[in-house]
């Protein structure tokens, strides 16, 4: 049942979790950094979003590999994780035409009652959907 080499010793195993915890805190701080005034790419929201997703994926991999011990599991872990990951991507792509693009060809009556982007665009208030804060 145990995946750990008994020769490693308890303290060494515990310190691994502490290091991962510190790494997770640092990564959380990094993703939160995009919210601060020091973030240099405030005018380019795409960079911030790509950075945040990269940080999130890194944090997720640390939790999965170390806290969930998947790093030490056998090959069944690939059978379990790869198909849902593929399905998740395909699900999102499948929803784009009907849900994501539903506002591209609306009737005039529908458009009359839809929310509109503010003319005072990126001021942190009522921004267009594809812009940042």
């Amino acid at each position: 049942m145990s995946e750990h080499d008994p020769g490693h010793g308890e303290d060494h195993g515990l310190m691994k979790y502490i290091y991962v915890f510190i790494a997770l805190c640092v990564l959380t701080g990094m993703s939160f950094f995009t919210y601060s005034d020091l973030w240099p790419w405030r005018e380019e929201p795409g960079i911030g979003r790509a950075f945040m997703m990269a940080v999130s994926c890194t944090k997720a991999m640390l939790v999965i590999l170390f806290f969930m011990h998947v790093k030490y599991e056998a090959n069944w872990k690939y059978v379990l994780t790869i198909p849902p990951a593929i399905m998740a991507v395909f699900l999102m792509l499948a929803l784009v035409p009907d849900i994501g693009l539903r506002d591209r060809s609306v009737s005039e009556e529908r458009r009359r009652y839809m929310a509109e982007p503010s003319t005072a665009a990126v001021d942190g208030h009522n921004v267009p959907a594809d812009a940042g804060h």
Binding site: Y17, C25, V63, L91, G100, M114, P117, G124, A129
Partner: protein, 296 residues
Amino acid sequence: MTDEAHSGHLQLEYQPALPIPNGKLIIWLFLSTEIMFFAALIGVYIVIRFGAPVWPATHDVHLVEPIGAFNTFVLICSSVTIVLSLEKAKSNQPGAAKLFLLATLLLGLVFLGVKAWEYNSKFSHGIYPMTPRSRIHEKADLYFGSAVRERLLAVRAPLAEKGDAARSEEEQQRFLLTAELLDRAATTQPAELALLANDIMPPPGAHDGETHHGLNDEQPWLKLPIVIPGGNMWASTYFLLTGFHALHVAAGLVVFVLMLPMQLGPAKAGFIENMGLYWHFVDLVWIFLFPLLYLF
């Protein structure tokens, strides 16, 4: 692998399909269904959010990013404590294992408490998952003006029945304020309705995001309709995602409470490991929810 004994009978040895206990296999199968569940919710949120013509900024809907970051930190700490509980149980230290389990439970309760506070701050500003409680309008149009007048008349009716002499000073001030607002809400000019909407709930500061108090904040009894373009869809997706996540957190906490009276020695290490896997998954979901909801 066969073993031919002296009698010539074949001794077959049972080989499990996977080198893990049944409980662990089941929990991983369950987690794979949960992965699909949350992937569906998060995927739909991404598609809706980037396909919407307009989406509210976080300060429009009273989201506070540092609070989301704090909640992330709390869940990360709880992941550490549950894995330390497992290690202590494996090394036959049931007292320490129980302490770490208790720490995990307390951190989970902190998370839910902060979530409840956040929900309350949304509700107090009229942001609910759906109508009729939700007071969000997409535009400051005639329907918004009509809704404002309807609410003002509902607030004013009991005051009007009392008459000038029977009203207290506070009630008289409310009576006069509702009369003034009814005049303003009677307009059919979009620009004036937009000004009224700004007075009811002002937009946050352009760069500092500082919240400016409007009529709904200064006079909480008013509870007037508000204008947040894209706000209804935002509220639906926000409450759906965080609500389901909070339900999963609560379910995990219930199991932790049931585990507390147990003797958490090596015999229970498998059970702790399986519950830990579930808890780490809950943390994983929040790791993705936090930037998507608070920082995007």
